[in-house]
């Protein structure tokens, strides 16, 4: 799968370069580069009765993002190729987004390809590679794509309809996603086809008033059975119906930054319904080039563990509450420097983290 993704990423990059080379073909082509360098110190205290403490510190280069966008009239193309360190030290090339769009007007934009699922506020407002635009150092756990550990399906392959309804002074906007949906596990994004032919359907509605956004979404998908795993305990013999309901509120207008969102995720099988609740609240206030901020995020998993997430990392640490605070400095439009402290209390351990990040975007 990684090889396929790598080939697709290279093909997409080549296609855009060729598009750009064709004189007069594309009216506009933007090329961007985004990335960040981090340093963090962590102290993990295990709650297994031993009170074992593990200290760690290190530099990291989480992502390098090559961004391409072209447009000609109402048509546009966008791709985001990520050089991503997912697990261990291997640098993986990932095609995070590849979208073709046609814009009929404010009321309808049709997009096909791989895009960020229209869930909540964060997932579409802050694409993974653009750390320079994020207020804290990382995306919150509920949509954190590293190690495929996000709780909601952050990316999907299919079509998206987006627009503003022509009522209430165009303050109501909608997104409809129809896509392949989940694969057999959360690290199996159905890029090349659909395992079970049933499609994921997601609807997001928002009301916007002078920068204030209030919205909700409802999603349904059918997850195919997972069989033949190396560890038979990870097999999941039934089709699961996944339902995600969410609410979000955001006011991100200079100098304020306020975001709140919450999700109920249900995995429904023939004999059980498992519920996970997750969410976040984030606050910031900009003074000149400095923005102090704070974030709280949490998740509550089923006591017996959710069968869908058994092979991946979502519930490794059990229920958690994470509280972080930091400062972001923006010396100019291209750079951001962040310093952050976090305490993340989970059932398995408590992690304390001090981190700093220099992020760029051109």
């Amino acid at each position: 799968m990684k090889r396929l993704t790598r080939l697709a990423a290279c093909a997409a990059a080549l296609a855009v370069v060729l598009l750009a080379a064709g004189k007069g073909r594309a009216q506009e082509l933007s090329v961007g580069a985004y990335g960040n360098v981090n340093y963090q110190v962590t102290r993990t205290v295990l709650k297994d009765g031993s009170n074992t403490t593990v200290n760690n510190n290190g530099f990291s280069i989480p992502t390098l993002d090559i961004f391409l966008r072209g447009s000609a009239g109402n048509w546009s193309f966008l791709s985001e190729v990520l050089f991503d360190i997912d697990e261990g030290n291997e640098i993986v090339v990932d095609l995070d987004r590849m979208q073709l769009s046609y814009e009929f007007g404010d009321w309808l934009k049709v997009t096909g390809g791989r895009f960020h699922t229209s869930l909540g506020y964060y997932n579409t407002a802050y694409p993974q590679g653009g750390a320079v635009y994020l207020l804290p150092i990382d995306r919150p756990e509920v949509v954190d794509q590293h190690d495929n550990a996000s709780i909601v399906p952050t990316s999907t392959v299919g079509i998206n309809l987006h627009g503003r309804l022509p009522y209430l002074q165009q303050r109501l906007s909608y997104d409809v996603d129809l896509s392949n949906g989940r694969g057999i596990a959360s690290d199996d994004l159905a890029n090349g086809g659909d395992h079970n032919n049933s499609k994921m359907l997601n609807l997001r509605l928002r009301y916007e008033l002078e920068g204030l956004i209030i919205g909700g979404n409802a999603m349904v998908d059918w997850i195919p059975p997972r069989l033949g795993q190396e560890d038979p305990a990870l097999d999941q013999p039934d089709t699961l119906r996944e339902q995600i309901f969410g609410l979000h509120i955001a006011y991100v207008e200079h100098p304020w930054h306020v975001i709140g969102e919450g999700y109920l995720i249900q995995h429904i099988g023939p004999t059980q319904t498992q519920h996970t609740i997750a969410g976040l609240a984030e606050f910031g206030y900009t003074l000149g080039i400095t923005t102090p901020y704070a974030r709280y995020s949490f998740a509550r998993f089923p006591a017996e563990g959710d069968v869908f997430w058994a092979p991946t990392h979502q519930q490794d640490r059990g229920n958690y509450d994470a509280l972080s605070a930091g400062v972001k400095f923006v010396p100019n439009e291209n750079f951001a420097i962040k310093i952050e402290l976090e305490m993340n209390r989970a059932e398995r351990d408590t992690e304390y983290r001090a981190a700093t990040q220099v992020a760029f975007g051109f």
């Binding site: 961007g32 985004y34 007007g105 895009f115 635009y133 100098p255 923006v330 439009e333 975007g361």
Partner: protein
């Protein structure tokens, strides 16, 4: 200084600052294509235009914005007027919208001539020129009235 003199000083200074603020707000003018039948736009509408939330005019023409280079008086004025922040913050917001995929990259407009060329080329074009340049508009360009 007597109390009366002090009061007079405060009043004079306030009047000068007020006058300077008004003069500055009138220094720049939004330019659109003559083919665009939108006559006026509010601050909120223009903010939506320049931050990518609004992609087309009422007549369906696709919006194409032009902005001056970082450090230019036009961009400073635009940022202060529409979002009450520095041009770095406005540019970062625009770049973020381009990165999200919600906005086309703005066309660079280094002079009034560039702005006029943009709106002549694109029926949905919009950009900013100083008051003096707006007094002698070429064919194909028109003023978009800014309603505060």
């Amino acid at each position: 200084m007597s109390q009366r003199g002090f009061r007079l000083g405060i009043i004079l200074t306030s009047s000068l600052l007020f006058a300077a603020g008004n003069a500055r707000a009138g220094d720049f003018v939004f330019i659109k294509s003559a083919q665009n039948d939108t006559a006026q736009a509010s601050k909120e509408e223009l903010k939506e235009v320049f931050t990518g939330k609004k992609v087309s005019w009422k007549n369906g023409q696709k919006i194409e914005i032009g902005i001056g280079p970082n450090g230019s008086a036009e961009l400073k004025w635009l940022a202060q007027e529409l979002i009450g922040a520095s041009e770095d913050i406005l540019l970062a917001k625009i770049k973020q919208e381009v990165f999200k995929g919600d906005m086309k990259k703005p066309s660079p407009v280094a002079s009034a001539a560039d702005c006029f060329a943009l709106v002549k080329k694109s029926a949905g074009g919009i950009c900013l020129v100083d008051d003096a340049s707006a007094k002698s508009l070429p064919d194909g360009a028109a003023v978009l009235k800014y309603v505060k």
